[in-house]
Symmetry: C2
Subunit: 385 residues, 2 copies
């Protein structure tokens, strides 16, 4: 009981201190329910400053915290057992978060759930100035299809999601290019449509005539080091780390898609892109097999160097575009991943004669708003001829 | 602080009492992770008796409970702050559940999440003797497609999920019948594929040659009474209650599907079925518009009476099959919903000359295993000629 009393005391003091701190910060009282709340739920909410306010009923809890962006914010309890509190300002776009109730990390029962950080958990949407590009509009819509298939590589059934553009299949003689689009570490095949809105981004770009219609295949590239193995320092990604997914992609996924969808099944009409870990997989796979692809996109996931070209002589011959993007806050913080300065690397590639494009997402970090914008910039540049 | 101490004391006593009660009940120690856990999670688990064991880290919690089947089970805390405990035996099949942490009802961070009971929350799967009929097998698989469309009735964008059978679209001249399949109250358009496995049930039936391939449209039939209105006693569903979804179905959904999918767009090749509230909607809509449908299925959602036929003279002329099913526990408990004894009603319909089928799911209640089995029995009976 001693520990309980001490904890309670500590929490009380801590909450009191926090309340004082908050009274010094003006919070703009224009909170509205988040656009990714469960149907009919009033909380979580977001205000015009980008603060997140959560509320949860936990009458017997000692403390409740909002855990977002790596910071835990203490909530305050009212007489009805409702805990309420808000975060500091968050960047525009989508963020994962969770609640901490007396030490238990749990999803917020008010939000929709998304797979990231290795779990299904809460997500929140801070309205962005440019959110129109992924809004649901009354334009022709493509479909996102759950595709179950057998993989020889993994000797089991797998699942992916496949975006087919508006009008797909109406004319069976019309065939489409394909983009293989990968999620990041701790995410899965649901990310690019659920929180990335890849389908809505494409529907809107196609409606505006800014991108040609193409198929997008979103599969699960999850990968962990074999138990006990660690890469040598400075040697990340370790040699062979992407082989499992590469084999699955080349031997199972691409043949399955070409056999079952209206694809143009040649390298000129095949692209690969990914975010973070998916960008690193894109780099490794397209350098190893430049005969399979023509367009390469890496969103917050490294870059291609002129040294890479020496090891993969066909890469510069075959690849028509290398697209590299980052969030501006990643660049500010020097968190641009592996293989050196992505901007300098991409400029060096251009000087070496390749067609490259480097994009920086304004005021976003290693998060989905950077990657939505990355896809939105990348898609209009590919399959144009 | 007094209240806190008293609560802590009460909880301690209560847990001690519960421990004693559990030591009197033998629990078979063959628990395995649930098949609907998040990737890599060890908990929740299920044993061969159908007990559910959950475990959650909540070092500072006063009490944690497992809330399943309308009963709350107290968990016990170990020295590491891990709370563990198990439920009584549960029926075979899928159940919604949640955790209660110091009064907060939250999803279990170990399970996948499903929409039911008006929330996205935890689900658990008790292995069923007949689970093979909805297993993921190496057979040709159809697709489940997310379809976004504009509705004039609701003046906004809507979403549904559409199952297309294996091979759909390979031959654009091959067209398919359509089943409109509705979820229950507190559920939405995701239920029939996520927890109902409608797609897997169909893939397996088609692979075995037991059902003809058809399209399934799963839309959102959510409906609540207008604020402040209550139906007169004994008058449920109230007159007009299904009009909103009926208008959306007839004026938006069916035309959208017939315009965009390879349907046979006539009443002979159109069925409607639903579970619970969706069964009641099926009843109201097919009685009001028997010129639109040929097959009717109601799973734990009422039945059709000979009185209904008097009010809808074309119903018995047009409808080729009325299928009614319930879980055996619903029948045992007399919880067979609205409009009298479903078995007697269905037998009376047969005597009146209609083709009917009455099915009872063994040892299941008003839950998904009853409805999976309902679809599995219904699907082979429709569109046979």
């Amino acid at each position: 009981m001693k520990i309980r009393l001490l904890t309670a005391l500590f929490v009380s003091v801590f909450i009191a201190g926090n309340t004082h701190a908050q009274s010094l910060t003006e919070v703009v009282e224009d909170f509205k329910p988040s656009s990714v709340n469960q149907a009919g739920r009033e909380y979580p909410q977001v205000n015009s400053e980008g603060r997140v306010r959560v509320q949860v009923e936990a009458p017997d809890a000692k403390y409740v915290q909002l855990d977002i962006g790596g910071v835990k914010y203490d909530l305050k309890k009212d007489d009805n057992g409702l805990w309420t509190g808000e975060s500091a300002q968050q960047d525009e776009g989508f963020h994962y978060y969770q609640l901490n109730i007396d030490g238990a990390s749990v999803p917020d029962p008010g939000s929709l759930y998304f797979y990231g950080a290795g779990r299904w958990g809460s997500g929140i949407e801070i309205p962005a100035g440019d959110q129109d590009f992924y809004a649901v509009k009354d334009v022709p819509h493509g479909q996102v299809r759950e595709q179950i298939y057998f993989s020889k590589t993994t000797n089991g059934m797998r699942r992916c999601f496949i975006y087919t553009p508006p009008g797909y299949g109406k004319d069976a003689s019309k065939r489409y290019p394909v983009l293989y689009l990968q999620h990041g570490g701790g995410e899965n095949e649901t990310g690019w449509s659920n929180q990335g809105h890849a389908n809505l981004i494409m529907d809107n770009l196609i409606a505006e005539g800014k991108a040609v219609p193409f198929i997008i295949v979103m599969d699960n590239g999850a990968w962990t080091m074999p138990r006990g193995e660690r890469p040598a320092a400075g040697n990340w990604p370790p040699k062979g780390w992407a082989d499992g997914f590469m084999n699955t992609l080349l031997n199972d996924i691409i043949p399955m898609v070409d056999a079952n969808y209206l694809t143009i099944a040649d390298p000129e009409h095949r692209a690969m892109a990914g975010l973070s870990m998916g960008g690193m997989q894109t780099r490794v796979i397209t350098l190893a097999h430049p005969e399979k692809f023509s367009y390469v996109g890496m969103f917050s996931g490294g870059s291609i160097t002129t040294d890479d070209l020496k090891d993969s002589p066909d890469f510069s011959k075959n690849i028509k575009l290398v697209f590299v993007s980052y969030g501006s806050r990643e660049i500010e913080n020097g968190r641009t991943g592996f293989g050196g300065d992505p901007k300098a690397n991409t400029e060096a590639l251009k000087e070496a004669g390749m067609n490259t494009h480097f994009y920086v997402s304004p005021l976003t970090a290693h998060e989905w708003q950077s990657w939505r914008r990355g896809l939105h910039e990348f898609a209009p540049l590919i399959f144009k001829n």
